[in-house]
């Protein structure tokens, strides 16, 4: 973080009291940040975990501050934040050369036209990889972002619009990131092959195809268990960037029209046991789609995304798996 820039922006909006959100990786520095910012402002830290710009803390936390300072992420342009939020992006400074990157995977498949994308902290690395691939003779492009993203080529775990923009024009996608979170979501959302370049490991291109196929099989098994469900809980997450109340209310009606029973519920970090106690046959989670796609093992009942619900109860997708991507959310009341 550049405290100077954050302080300047806070002074511009005449902030006095601020809420500070730190990602896990920066939490060990919380005393430094707190002491530095406290010279100019009345600071309170949010101790809760958060998952990005979709989550600026609970209203109890931000209602009484002049600004939220969130480190490590970039704003979601089409979210209506109800308090000024100062996002301070964290750009990874790993400048290892890509010169030794093994391109056999691309050559073997005769992939010449590459769609390149990244999670936000690797924007710089993605630019460097683009340059390297172009020098090697590849056509490289970054897909256009929709209004939930700030940059072309940027991905969120819930939004892969730059890949859809490129899907018909390129041979494959390469995702620059750490861990499989973004790349797995990417391969669930597009058909062309997705390669991850994991910046936390020695550089190599690894196909996500088989991992995504395994994952989809497990999702179909989870969905199959929901087919006979009679009691549904449809969950709306109260995080500002995950709030899809209209979608949830529409689904409640659809479930009732099928002659089944549906309860509408709020969630914010609810633990799986809270849903177990409700004895529902199926949970439809309209907040972060990755709760259902990645964490379903933690739930006893089947837990589906809105799109998975559409696939099995409304015959959407023509047999193809549809990743639930968030394009926009409702403005919170």
């Amino acid at each position: 973080m550049d405290p100077g820039r954050v302080i300047e922006r806070l002074k511009e909006i005449k902030a006095k009291r601020i809420l500070l959100q730190l990602p896990d990786g920066l939490k060990p520095h919380v005393f430094d940040y707190f002491n530095e910012l406290s010279k100019n402002f009345n600071v309170i830290v949010s101790s809760s975990g958060f998952y990005g710009a979709c989550d600026t803390g609970t209203m109890d936390e931000w209602k009484n501050v002049d600004a939220v300072v969130q480190l490590g992420h970039t704003e979601i342009p089409n979210v209506n934040y109800k308090v000024p939020v100062i996002f301070e992006e964290y750009i990874n400074e790993d400048h290892r050369s890509f010169n030794d990157l093994d391109l056999t995977e691309l050559e073997r498949n005769n992939y010449k036209n590459i769609s390149l994308a990244y999670s936000i902290q690797y924007r710089q690395s993605a630019e460097e990889l683009s340059k390297f691939l172009k020098e090697k003779g590849y056509n490289v492009s970054m897909g256009k972002h929709d209004s939930r993203l700030k940059y072309d080529g940027q991905l969120l775990g819930c939004n892969f619009s730059p890949l859809h923009d490129q899907e018909s024009r390129n041979d494959c996608h390469i995702i620059v990131s750490t861990g499989v979170f973004h790349a797995l979501g990417a391969q669930l959302s597009v058909e062309k092959e997705v390669f991850i370049l994991d910046m936390s490991e020695p550089f190599r291109l690894r196909s996500m195809k088989s991992e995504a196929e395994r994952h989809i099989r497990r999702r179909y098994a989870n969905m199959a268990r929901a087919l006979e469900a009679k009691k549904f809980v449809v969950v709306v997450d109260t995080k500002v960037g995950q709030y899809r109340m209209k979608l949830a209310e529409k689904m409640i009606k659809e479930i009732q029209d099928m002659g089944k029973s549906a309860v509408l519920a709020y969630s914010n970090e609810s633990s799986p046991v809270e849903f177990e106690n409700m004895m529902a046959d199926c949970i439809i989670f309209t907040g972060c789609p990755r709760v259902a796609t990645d964490d379903f093992d933690r739930y006893k009942s089947p837990i589906l995304t809105a799109q998975e619900f559409n696939m099995i109860f409304k015959k959407k997708g023509n047999g193809k798996y549809i990743m639930d991507e968030i394009v926009n959310v409702d403005t919170m009341p």
Copy 2:
């Protein structure tokens, strides 16, 4: 729950949209409650766990409703709820006779004058026990409640004012409850012997003395680990009935005056790992005191109540353990 009475009260205040909070024990009936109330109101259920009348959900949940319906608890009179909350007490209907209750524990100690208290759902049972003990020749009284409680003799896990009222006038205390939660807190807060009558077990009087002593020894060990701490996180819980911001701000200043470093943090169901990431030497938790006294094993750093902080850093208590009881909280901004 008597839905009729709840519906009547909701209609009186012309509620249209309501938030429903169910304790774990009633969650299996959520579909019944939801369907019944949905005939008259626009209902949304809070899926989060809650701990009583100190917790009416996050502001994100209640900001958009006309009323909260909370089952199983009774209001905390001196909490300034910012939305109408309809508390529907749950009275346990266990009418087993106390006739066979073994009173040897009282006789052996020559305890004649009894202070009787209860957790809210056993108010009726406590009355019946009182009658039984009086017939056996005991003097029985229920201590006066302070403004955080509604009834004489009622206890919360954070408030034992009826026991303090009786401490000098009676020989011992009997707590009618389930599990040791209330009775252990009681024995941590008073010196006279506390007996639990656990309604979930065959009736008997069990002394809490040795369990509380063991517990206090473990608390002192935790407090000793905090003595050398240099970096403190002082936590304010955003639950409406646990919000003690002024206390936390005062402690921040006291810690800084000792030449140590302190960070002010919000919490609402933060997991222990969030605090671990902050690399603090000590956590002071000003929300529910039972987080520190009962759950400290889940935290790597020592975690203290406000009173425990006072004991070790401000030499309060004259060597006697002081239970951190909540008398009142700040009104949330």
